[in-house]
């Protein structure tokens, strides 16, 4: 029995200005992500003396084990964005949520936004950290801006305070299968107000991207490579959706074309991820590649300069490493 039932029993007016509890909404996402939200909500709820509710279609026992006090199961028809908004908005009309958490998926962001508008609350999307100020009953959310160059810390001056949270923001919670909780189905409103229609698969080829603008680049160099392993490098590139490239030495070895040379004397790149296998990484190459946001380097010589500007490093011959890497991916 939760506070709403008590209020109902005692005939209290639930229209009162009291927003309560923490609500985690999981719409068709992996339990792992939802579990970390539940764990964090549990922690905050204990500080605030509040309950944790889980709304979703998933396994309710799991939700309880990860920290929910009460599970409101969503019917499958309420999982589509439009339907979820109608269902949740109707449900929340009588129960005023204080804090609501969604996984920051596209659906989560969409539903959270609509819900904030309906409930006249506030929303922050794509949060990577939440800090609770329990005396002010306020959460300050950090969310990335400028493609993650830095984070803005935002608080919300309206209730409910709604947040969509990126995967990996919180550690995986402990699973306590001894926890108790209740489960009840959530009614779907008669009119789900579904307006968006899915038309199935579409014929769409994303426009070709040049190496200069590629989001992922996999490049090979001469060190510890041979033509066979360079070819495996090319396969890896294909598999992970990266552009295949190399340094000058790879060009000299005939493994890449001239317009695939990365460096100031070739093509300058700034991908999200740059993987360099067998590239020494001197100034000429570095100046053309160091715009990469994340660099993974594999090189047989631990003194290779590339290790001084790579985020993740492996000392080893690409010849030996690449076949194993291909198998792992």
């Amino acid at each position: 029995m939760d506070v709403y039932d008590l209020q109902a029993l005692m005939g209290e007016n639930i229209e009162a200005e009291d927003y309560r509890d923490l609500w985690v909404v999981g719409l068709a996402v992996e339990m792992q992500h939802v579990a970390s939200l539940l764990g964090e909500a549990r922690r905050m709820a204990d500080m605030l003396g509040a309950y944790v509710h889980y709304i979703g279609a998933g396994d309710s026992d799991e939700a309880i084990a990860f920290g929910a006090d009460r599970v409101h199961t969503l019917a499958a028809e309420s999982l589509a964005p439009d339907a979820a908004v109608s269902t949740l908005a109707t449900f929340f009309e009588t129960r005023k949520p204080e804090f609501v958490f969604f996984p920051a998926t596209d659906i989560g962001n969409e539903v959270a936004g609509c819900l904030a508008q309906r409930l006249k609350g506030g929303v922050v999307c794509n949060c990577i950290a939440l800090r609770l100020d329990e005396s002010a009953r306020e959460i300050v959310a950090s969310h990335p801006v400028y493609d993650g160059a830095y984070y803005l810390d935002t608080a919300l001056a309206a209730k409910p305070q709604i947040f969509t949270v990126r995967e990996g923001a919180f550690p995986a919670p402990l699973r306590d299968s001894g926890r108790n909780g209740e489960t009840e189905p959530m009614d779907s409103p008669a009119d789900l107000a579904i307006r968006a229609r899915a038309l199935g698969e579409a014929d769409y080829t994303p426009p070709a991207v040049s190496l200069r603008k590629a989001a992922r680049v996999f490049a090979v160099g001469r060190a510890g490579n041979d033509s066979e392993s360079a070819a495996i490098g090319k396969q890896i590139a294909e598999k992970i959706g990266a552009h295949f490239a190399g340094d000058r030495s790879a060009f000299d070895s005939g493994w890449i074309e001239e317009d695939q040379i990365v460096g100031v004397n070739g093509i300058e790149i700034a991908p999200d991820v740059y993987i360099a296998a067998g590239i020494w990484g001197d100034t000429l190459h570095r100046a053309g590649a160091e715009g990469a946001k994340f660099v993974i380097a594999i090189h047989p010589d631990k003194r290779a300069p590339i290790f001084s500007w790579a985020d993740t490093c492996l000392v080893g011959k690409p010849k030996d490493v690449l076949p194993k890497l291909l198998a792992l991916l």
Binding site: H143, R216, D311, C313, V321, L328
Partner: protein, 259 residues
């Protein structure tokens, strides 16, 4: 048919240096540009105009910095540009004001927005749809109008993993539609915006009437509509990059999978 495209001027990151160690953002050159996703939204609207015929109206908040975004849009082919006299509104106030603008304009059949603002992460699309009681279609890389419906294509790999392509093979793109009126949110992978003809830039800038201004009062907005909800409490920073960290092959495979 009328299409409204809201445009947000943002600080150009090319003039910014983010110093994680000092925990500060240094602005070396204070240049502004139109939020990239918004520019793709404008391109989507202009393509509909080219193909099916439509009036394209762009709107931005001001007075500062917005003129360039609006005039550039006029040069690209927008028929009207409206400057709403509210300085840097948050997501909530933007939604109130844009919904009021739609009512003020009368017949707006389609609103095309950028799916999120690079500088604040604000994403007005779903909220605006809700405020207007329009249908919402998000994550569009292509948008068209077929009869009385908006139709979009959504990339298969964008759902659930925003911002980056997944290492898993990409699921197929999907089509979605909704009857007009609707709000469509276009991602940064939408069609490449056109360059305006240089002469149109000169004409737009020299036309004293290229931009229409509206005040909150013109839109019937009350003080409470102008109350921001998002309150900026500062900035925080990702940890500094650490170079030279050794990793195992498994680590590398999983890093590649996650990035």
């Amino acid at each position: 048919m009328n299409i409204l495209v809201p445009l947000k001027p943002i600080l150009d990151p090319a003039g910014m240096i983010v110093n994680r160690k000092a925990g500060r953002v240094f602005v070396n050159r204070e240049n502004y540009m139109t939020n990239p996703a918004d520019k793709r939204a404008l391109e989507a609207a202009l393509r509909i105009k080219d193909e099916a015929g439509a009036g394209v109206i762009v709107a931005a908040f001001g007075p500062d910095r917005s003129a360039d975004s609006l005039l550039e849009a006029r040069a690209m082919g927008a028929d009207r540009a409206i400057l709403i006299d509210i300085p840097s509104p948050d997501e909530t106030v933007s939604v109130h004001a844009l919904a009021a603008l739609c009512h003020h304009l009368g017949q707006v059949d389609l609103v095309i927005v950028g799916d999120s603002a690079l500088d604040t992460g604000a994403s007005i699309g779903p909220r605006l749809a809700e405020a207007l009681d329009f249908a919402f279609l998000g994550g569009a890389v292509q948008c068209s109008v077929e009869g009385n419906a908006a139709r979009i294509i959504r990339r298969g790999d964008s759902r659930g993993r925003p911002d980056r392509a997944s290492a898993r093979p990409a699921p197929a793109a999907t089509a979605h539609e909704a009857d007009l009126p609707a709000v469509v949110a276009v991602t940064r992978e939408g069609a490449q915006p056109r360059y305006p003809h240089g002469g149109n830039i000169i004409t737009a800038y020299r036309d004293a009437n290229a931009i229409e201004s509206l005040s909150p009062a013109d839109l019937g907005l009350s003080d409470s509509d102008l109350q921001p909800v998002a309150i900026e409490r500062g900035q925080s920073f990702p940890p500094e990059r650490e170079f030279g960290k050794q990793a195992s092959l498994d680590d590398i495979a999983s890093v590649i999978g996650h990035r």
